[in-house]
Each structure stands twice: as C-alpha cells, then as structure tokens.
Amino acid sequence: MSEVLFYAFAAIAVAGALGMVLNLHNTVAAALSLVGTMVALGGLYVLLEAYLIGVLQILVYAGAIVVVFLFVVMLLNLRRDVFPAGRQWMTKGLALGISLVVLVRFLRLVPGSFGEPAALPEGFGGYREIGARLFTDYVLAFEVTSLLLLAAMVGAVILAKREPSEPDGDPRTPVSRSEAS
C-alpha cells in the first residue's frame, strides 16, 4: 500500500515539476503545477514518517508560499514567456547537458548505498520531539532564523513600498519590450 502511494506521489511530484518548467504560455498554470509538487511532497514526508514536516509542507509551501507567487503573477498579469533564443542556446544547452550528466551519475550512485532504515523511536516525527530539538540543541540556529525573517520582512516592506512622492496611477515611462518577443 505505502509503496503504491509512494510511487503515485513521486509521479505527481515529477509531473508537477516538469509542468512548471515546460509551461511557457501561462505562469499561473505553472504555479499551480508547483502546488501539485508541493502537496505530493507533503504526502511523501508522511510516508517517510515525518508527520510534522508533512503538515508544515502543505501549510507553508502549498498554502502560503505558492499563494504569494500566484498573487504576484496575478498582480502583474503575466501570461507569456519564451525560451531563450539565438546565441544563448549555446550556454544554456551546455548547462542543461551538464545538469543531466550530473543527474545520471547521481542516480547510478544511489542504489544499494544505504542500509536498512533504523528502528523508529516512539513519537518520531511528532511536534514534541522536533520542538524539543529546536529549542535545546538548535536554539542558536532558531534565533538566527528569526533574525533572518525579521530582516526579510523589513526588506520586503522597503522594496514593495511606493515612494511617498509618487502619485497613485502615475503613468510610468514604458521601457522597450522588444527583447521579450
């Protein structure tokens, strides 16, 4: 049963990821494919006994981060994108080739390199154990993360804020869009 579920979730995750990368004409649909991947990964985490992480994955990634992406896409109303043209195919193609070669090497490395999974202690993957770890062994990392979040919050507010002098609905000077097409 769990094997079947694992492969089903894995297939959804890969399909969603491919759907995001290959979808050129519709950024919203690309973001929704990413949601599929995120939800499937949440299922995989639960199958790997990481219950809290599985729920957090759905809650934070699928429920908040991708919604913010969607919000920005809708705000900017983007609908079209194109693959790079002309000379860029050289470098990008090279990058693609290297990625694929590294992936194949990695995949050939994996089978048989891990032993049997260790026996699980009571309450593994629950919020009590992770919370205890987070606030004892890793409390410094926790505090630093909170600092990072604060910095990100201030940064985002400053970046997205309009200049007070700039009147609403100011017709901005259009920039050449010829390169995009």
Binding site: S99, S113, L134, R172
Partner: protein, 98 residues
Amino acid sequence: MIEEAVALSGILFAIGAIGALVRRNVIVVLMCIELMLNAVNLALVAFSRLWADATGQVFVMMVIVVAAAEVAVGLGIVIALFRNRESVNVEEVSLLKW
C-alpha cells in the same frame, strides 16, 4: 523507499536547476529555486528516516523558513522591477553586467 526518495530528490533538483537556467521569467526562476530547496528537504527527510534521527527534520524547518524569507524578498524585488521596467524578463535586467 529511502533509495527511491533520494533518487527522486535528485531528479527534482535537476528539474529545478534546469528550469532556473533556461526560463527567463523571474517568477518562474524563483519557483524553480523553491523546487530545488524542496528537493533538498526531501533528501533531508529521507536521511532523517534512515538514521531515525530528527535532526534532519529540524533542518527542514530551517530551510522552510529561509525559503519563506527568500520568497518575500524575491517577490518584493520582482514587484519593484516590474514597476520600473514593465518586465520580469531576467535578461532585460542587465544594467550591472560588464
């Protein structure tokens, strides 16, 4: 199941990396980076299950927080960029390029 999970994490990471390299829409590039972070998370969870040690899961939480921060700042930059240039194409943002 752990071997498959690690292999899947490699595949997802590669898809994300390729997407970040070939797509030109900044928002899609950011989404590809999210995908790569998620692939790393999957590997961390798989190894955490392998050793039955919750440390990996603690680090996944850190990664989630960092990803959230990255999205907040990244999308703020995207909005500022769109306001100034009416475009989200990465290749049009090359003023600092030598």
